[in-house]
């Protein structure tokens, strides 16, 4: 339960922090401080159990049916990271209290910071791969919010978006990798996954899984070629950089690699991919860091380089290298966070982070200078500091791994070269900022910061020293516990000690130290000539990112224009063509056949009738755009031919119904005509161009083809025997159940009585509509003008003022008389029709 609380507490704190008022800086920091310290205490309280080699577990059923439980597990390795995350969290909160200015809206900051911490603890303690990915993406989200904290600055927005895009995309790859791993193992449970190492390595999916997981981890840890987001993320407030970009978020990638080390490592693929990514990042980062102008830029590239070092170690496939990697993760987090904090102090007190402007701060800020110097020495790998220990281990491993893989000289050389650069940028960082004559033209007058800002940094530096001098007493047991949980009880023989004797690694360190100082001196002489990073200044991955970005947007625009037209004609054309295309598909497999029914002998008169009907239909289609009335008349003609066809084939009732429908439709159309807007004038010249003709011909061909296709289908269907179960049903039952011999009448009145009622209703509604249209019908002025009797009335009172009033008597006299004459006749006819009835 304690474990759940560890993950839950920061999120609860985050919600509380978001609810506090905008200027409650102290309350916010107290709240966050309490939460982080509580987390730390909870983590610490679990150490005895973990140290015994026990795995602390908390399982809450979440989605059991899909093999997902909310499963937290803490072994030694997870403990180490959980401790790191919560300890750093506490220090950063303390630091941020004094760093953030009173104008900054702090609730957002602390709320996202705590949420980030919760997500990070979630990653570290997840016992389930899917859950890990969920927390993983959550860190991307919260880091987006934190980097873009000062969202009024365009660089912050850009940096945040870039970091988010890269890490979220990596997270999705990781998700896919996790899904595949789960599929291979049969469970997403971390325990089971870790136990299935051989099965995974021998599985045919191993390489894709490896690539996907690596994509996730390398993007998160800013490894080449995905390293470009990290320097841009430096637009974040410095506490965020200290936390996310040294201790927590960027470590998630290497954390995961070490977590899955027993499962994925040990193959050639792993060695080549991970080592080459690590080595290139190591060199590239160290090289770029040497030439940065911004203090945070130096630290960002140095972080990239150190993460490359860790990745390289992880790729070496030996347990000893793994130990070195985990050890360096811890060391790097301590000295880098402390350096970030020192940078923040300098920035806060002087108002600039530009290495060109800063100078001689040691006079004004002696304490900060001391702290920064020690931390930077740890970064450079000076003896008696923690960085030295892990760097020694790294050098040693590079020799061993190099000799095993046929890179006997390459790997150690790469390691030493990186060491040289690392020393050079550390020296430069310290020398430019703190030494030399005091700078004059700084935006603010520097002074020593408040104690709250220096204490977290100093504490971290003290840790560097302690670990560096007494490694086996301080960090030794922790490292051992954590390594046991990854490698099992048989740990490789490693010795944490300051002095190993005059070994090759020691000489390599010596070369690195002297070489680094020499390189810096050399650079100082040529300072004027080299401002941007030599060789690489044009090769900016950020530009590639932007170019890809723009290319995607442009491509999408092109696709949109290509695929979309607002013209109905084009849309229709596409749909008809597609329908035609898919309709042809089945006939590629089988062929079209007509049925075996004999054909009725052709009758020339009927053929003529249909030719007339078809001509009318085509004419209506042609004229619809130019002459509405003509089109309507021809439409009526086509309808009439349909009626006659029914009558021809002895279906008078259908013919009657059809003619009624036709008449009503045409009447409605005619009434509606006058509400249509005026036709647009067409440019006849336009219709004569070759292009227009070609278009029309194309459309005609498509229309005719579609028509022929439908006709062919009907022909095929009509020449096959009918399955008329329905007719037989009605013939059998009409006498027996309804007592009528006229089957059609029986159907209408008895079997389908409800349908008939519905049809009558429809006719009634149509009649109402006709009435409504007629009631508001206003004849054209010239047609009213002619009858003298009406001319006077038109002016006054003949037509009602308001539309709802009834028409005056005598209006529309002629139709009324006609109707009066016709009605009795109609009644007689109807009565005659009614008499025979269904029976």
């Amino acid at each position: 339960m304690l474990l759940t609380l560890i993950v839950l507490l920061p999120f609860l704190g985050s919600v509380c922090a978001a609810l506090l008022p905008a200027n409650a800086r102290n309350a916010e920091s107290w709240l966050s401080g309490v939460v982080t310290v509580a987390c730390m205490a909870l983590v610490a309280s679990l150490y005895p159990q973990v140290a015994d080699g026990e795995v602390v577990r908390a399982i809450i059923p979440w989605l059991p049916q899909y093999g997902l439980t909310f499963y937290l597990r803490m072994d030694g390795y997870a403990w180490l990271f959980a401790m790191l995350v919560s300890l750093m969290g506490a220090l950063v909160v303390l630091y941020a209290r004094y760093y953030m200015s009173p104008e900054d809206p702090v609730p957002r900051f602390f709320s996202f910071l705590l949420a980030f911490m919760g997500a990070m603890l979630g990653i570290v303690l997840s016992g389930n791969l899917i859950q890990l990915v969920v927390f993983w993406e959550l860190t991307s989200l919260t880091s987006f919010m934190l980097i873009a904290y000062w969202y009024h600055r365009p660089d912050a927005r850009r940096g945040a978006r870039m970091a988010m895009t890269v890490t979220v995309a990596g997270g999705l790859c990781l998700l896919l990798g996790a899904l595949m791993l789960g599929e291979i193992v049969g469970s997403y449970d971390l325990d089971e996954v870790l136990a299935a190492g051989n099965g995974i390595r021998e599985h045919p999916w191993y390489t894709p899984v490896l690539v996907l997981v690596l994509l996730g981890a390398l993007t998160k840890s800013a490894q080449f070629p995905f390293h470009f987001w990290l320097p841009h993320a430096m637009a974040a407030p410095t506490p965020v950089s200290a936390y996310l970009h040294s201790a927590a978020m960027v470590k998630a990638g290497v954390f995961l690699l070490a977590r899955l080390w027993p499962v994925l490592a040990g193959t050639d693929e792993w060695f080549w991919i991970v080592c080459s990514a690590g080595a290139s990042t190591l060199l590239l980062g160290a090289f770029c860091a040497t030439f940065q102008r911004d203090m945070k830029g130096v630290l960002a590239y140095s972080t990239i380089s150190h993460l490359g070092l860790i990745t390289l170690l992880l790729g070496m496939n030996t347990p000893l290298a793994l130990v070195a990697a985990v050890f360096h993760m811890m060391n790097h987090a301590t000295f880098k966070a402390s350096l970030f904090m020192a940078t923040g102090i300098v920035d806060h007190e002087t108002g600039t982070r530009d290495l060109k402007k800063l100078c001689g701060l040691r006079y004004r800020m002696p304490v900060t200078a001391t702290v920064a110097i020690v931390a930077a020495s740890a970064m450079a790998g000076v003896p008696l500091l923690n960085g030295f220990l892990s760097k020694e281990m790294f050098f040693e491993e590079s020799i061993i791994a190099g000799s095993e893989s046929g890179l006997r000289f390459t790997l150690p050389a790469v390691a030493t070269l990186a060491g040289v650069f690392s020393v050079a940028y550390s020296v430069r960082f310290i020398h430019q900022v703190f030494f030399g004559p005091p700078a004059e033209d700084l935006p603010r007058r520097p002074q020593e910061p408040t104690r709250g800002m220096i204490v977290p940094s100093a504490l971290l530096v003290a840790a560097c020293l302690l670990v560096g001098i007494l490694p086996s007493r301080t960090v030794g047991p922790l490292l051992e516990t954590s390594m046991r949980s990854i490698l099992g009880p048989d740990l490789p023989a490693y010795r944490l000690a300051v002095w190993h004797g005059f070994t090759v690694p020691f000489y390599m360190s010596l070369v690195a130290l002297t070489g680094g100082v020499a390189l810096y001196v050399l650079l100082c002489f040529r300072k004027k000539t080299m401002v941007p990073t030599p060789l690489l200044s044009r090769l900016d991955a950020k530009r590639a990112f932007d170019v890809i970005n723009v290319a995607i947007v442009r491509g999408a625009g092109r696709l949109a224009r290509f695929l979309f037209s607002r013209r109905l004609q084009t849309q229709l054309l596409l749909i008809v063509l597609l329908a035609l295309g898919v309709a042809v598909l089945p006939f590629l497999v089988t062929e079209w056949t007509r049925g075996d029914m004999p054909l009725t002998p052709p009758d020339p008169l009927f053929a003529l009738l249909w030719i007339v009907g078809a001509a009318c239909a085509i004419g209506a289609a042609l004229q619809a755009k130019f002459h509405r009335l003509a089109a309507l008349i021809m439409l009526g003609g086509a309808g009439l031919v349909t009626c006659l066809t029914f009558a021809w084939f002895s279906a008078p009732d259908l013919a009657l119904t059809q003619i009624a429908v036709e008449v009503v439709t045409i009447v409605l159309f005619l009434l509606g005509l006058r509400w249509l807007p005026r036709r647009l004038a067409f440019d006849t010249v336009d219709r004569q161009t070759l292009r227009a003709r070609a278009r029309r011909t194309r459309d005609a061909i498509i229309a005719v083809t579609s028509g022929i296709g439908i006709a062919a289908l009907s022909f095929a269907a009509l020449t096959r025997p009918r399955q008329s179960r329905l007719a037989a049903f009605f013939f059998d039952r009409s006498v027996e159940e309804a007592g009528g011999r006229n089957v059609v009448n029986v159907i209408l009145v008895d079997f389908r009585g409800f349908d008939t009622l519905g049809e009558i209703t429809v006719v009634g509604i149509v009649a109402l509509i006709v009435y409504a249209l007629l009631r508001r019908f206003r004849p054209a002025p010239e047609s009213i003008g002619v009858p003298r009797a009406q001319r006077d009335d038109v002016l006054q009172g003949a037509l009602p003022e308001r539309l709802d009033d009834p028409l005056p008597r005598g209006y529309m006299k002629i139709p009324a008389v006609l109707l009066a004459l016709a009605l009795p006749l109609v009644r007689v006819c109807l009565f005659c029709l009614l008499l025979p009835g269904p029976r």
Binding site: W62, L63, P64, Q65, Y66, I130, V133, V134, E137, L138, L141, A148, Y151, H152, R157, A160, R161, M164, T165, V168, A169, L172, C173, L175, L176, L179, E183, I552, V553, G555, A556, G557, L559, A560, L563, F564, S565, R566, L568, Q571, L572, L574, I575, V576, L578, A579, V582, A583, L585, P586, F587, V589, T590, L713, A717, Q723, R725, F729, E737, F751
Partner: protein, 481 residues
């Protein structure tokens, strides 16, 4: 036939939702004729009450314990249908609640709008419960005709009229295709009943059935808005009044899911190999075009239209799997998607004012500064739609991918994931605009409390279902086991 069936309560009760709704439509229409002009708010209020009552009645009397076929094989009642109808009541209720102020300000708060919404809902129900090709067709047409009229509802708007016209013409072609496919299938098999159809279509399929199937798939793709039958969707989403866009973007999706499920997965089960191939091709096109083209849109409604298209791609992918689990993933996706787009369009409605349609992306610049609540809700919805955990949209995507995995479609998974990443790009752009861009001179947002509470509930549902996805996932799995 009539003599063989007797109408008893037990044979009618499962159709209570439809019967009740048909009566309610008539009553509301009459009420509106006589009182609509005098008391503007009456019909809207009564409609909401009618929906609530309908949901209650359906929940109380409409439940069935097992699948039963009623009304001479025309109507099927099962747990899935019952649940979807309840969901339909709720979704339409929310949609109408969000729309009211919007309609009022544009002076189109008329009874017809609400009646049309209810007839559309009736169409949805008929589709959900269709057990025969004919019933399905009637449902499709009822829904489509109501929606065409709704799109053209703002009669003074030229763009709305244009969209309605296009929608109508293209929709008629799709209906034609559906009818054509159905009649070919009927011609070959001699039955309209979906159950009998499923029984008859086994083994080798004749060319006739495949031809019919092709047309049915075309119609389903058109209704869903799958590429290349998607042309109408951006135009209609863009041109229709936002409240109508909200309506068509939500509840009808349930119906189209039912259309695909009942026709393809149940009726034409025997042709699963054929149609799942067709759907796979459609899904790939849909995902790619929907996501990529959405990037360049500057109009939010149009962007969301393309987002709908891309989400439809995911729903179609669920069908591609061709297993009950796949359908349940598609159902889950549909429900989740409807829930999210309900909220998204709700935000647009609340951000609009009289004379100001908040439909351009630029209108959302600095929304956080002007209205933190709306911005927050929108952010949650955008994250969720992008499929970022822990929001519910993530689980929806995950379920689809899992099912594709289980049926071994690695390429489709790859495309789905790549396209999700592309999708995240434009959803996050909205968040960026709201949170990081300076607010311009834009009118204040709408302060309707009722709609705001509903929107809050909506967003809370997105978050809660994301944190506790179990119950709904279970339900979907049970409904389609």
């Amino acid at each position: 036939m009539a003599s063989e069936t007797t109408l008893t309560w037990a044979t009618v009760a499962p159709a209570i939702a439809e019967i009740y709704l048909a009566i309610a439509v008539c009553v509301l229409l009459l009420v509106d004729v006589f009182y609509g002009e005098k008391r503007r708010g009456l019909t809207p209020t009564l409609t909401l009450a009618a929906l609530a009552l309908g949901a209650l009645l359906t929940a109380q009397f409409g439940a069935v314990t097992e699948r039963v076929t009623l009304f001479n094989g025309m109507f099927v009642a099962d747990e899935l249908g019952h649940f979807l109808k309840l969901a339909g009541f709720v979704f339409v209720g929310f949609a109408l609640l969000y729309s009211r102020t919007y309609l009022e300000q544009r002076e189109i708060l008329k009874g017809e709008y609400y009646v049309l919404a209810l007839t559309a809902l009736l169409g949805i129900f008929v589709m959900v419960s269709a057990a025969s090709l004919l019933t399905m067709y009637i449902g499709v047409e009822l829904l489509a005709l109501s929606v065409y009229a709704m799109v053209a509802f703002d009669r003074d708007s030229g763009i709305a009229a244009e969209s309605a016209m296009k929608y109508f013409v293209l929709g008629s072609i799709a209906s034609g295709a559906l009818l054509y496919g159905m009649s070919i299938v009927y011609g070959v098999t001699g039955t309209l009943s979906l159950d009998e159809l499923a029984g008859q279509l086994r083994g080798e399929l004749s060319a006739g059935v495949i031809l019919g199937l092709v047309f049915i798939v075309v119609a389903v793709a058109f209704k869903l808005g799958a590429v290349p039958f998607h042309m109408w969707l951006p135009d209609v989403y863009h041109g229709a009044p936002t409240s109508v866009t909200l309506f068509i973007g939500t509840a009808p999706k349930i119906a189209y899911f039912a259309l695909a499920l009942r026709l393809l997965a149940e009726g034409l089960q025997g042709a699963v190999a054929e149609w799942s191939q067709m759907l796979a091709a459609l899904a790939v096109l849909t995902l790619v075009v929907g996501n990529v083209v959405a990037i360049v849109q500057s109009n939010l409604k149009r962007m969301l239209a393309y987002s709908t298209i891309s989400n439809v791609g995911f729903i179609v992918l669920g069908f591609v799997a061709g297993t009950p689990e796949g359908y349940s993933a598609a159902l889950y996706y549909t429900l989740v998607y409807v829930l999210m787009s309900l909220g998204t369009f709700g935000v647009i409605l609340l951000a609009s004012r009289k004379g100001f349609e908040a439909d351009e992306l630029d209108h959302y610049k600095g929304l956080h500064a002007r209205d933190p609540m709306l911005a927050f809700v929108m952010m949650v919805l955008m994250f969720s739609t992008a499929g970022i955990p822990p929001f519910v949209g993530f689980w929806a995507k995950l379920r689809i991918i899992q099912e594709l995995w289980a049926t071994s479609h690695p390429w489709l998974i790859l495309i789905a994931i790549v396209m999700s990443v592309v999708g995240a790009f434009y959803y996050l752009r909205v968040v960026k605009l709201m949170y990081f861009d300076p607010p311009g001179e834009l009118p204040a947002t709408e302060r309707n409390t009722g709609a705001r509470v509903a929107l809050g509930l909506n967003a809370a549902a997105v978050v809660l279902l994301g944190l506790l996805p179990g119950p709904l996932l279970d339900l979907c799995a049970r409904l389609l086991h």
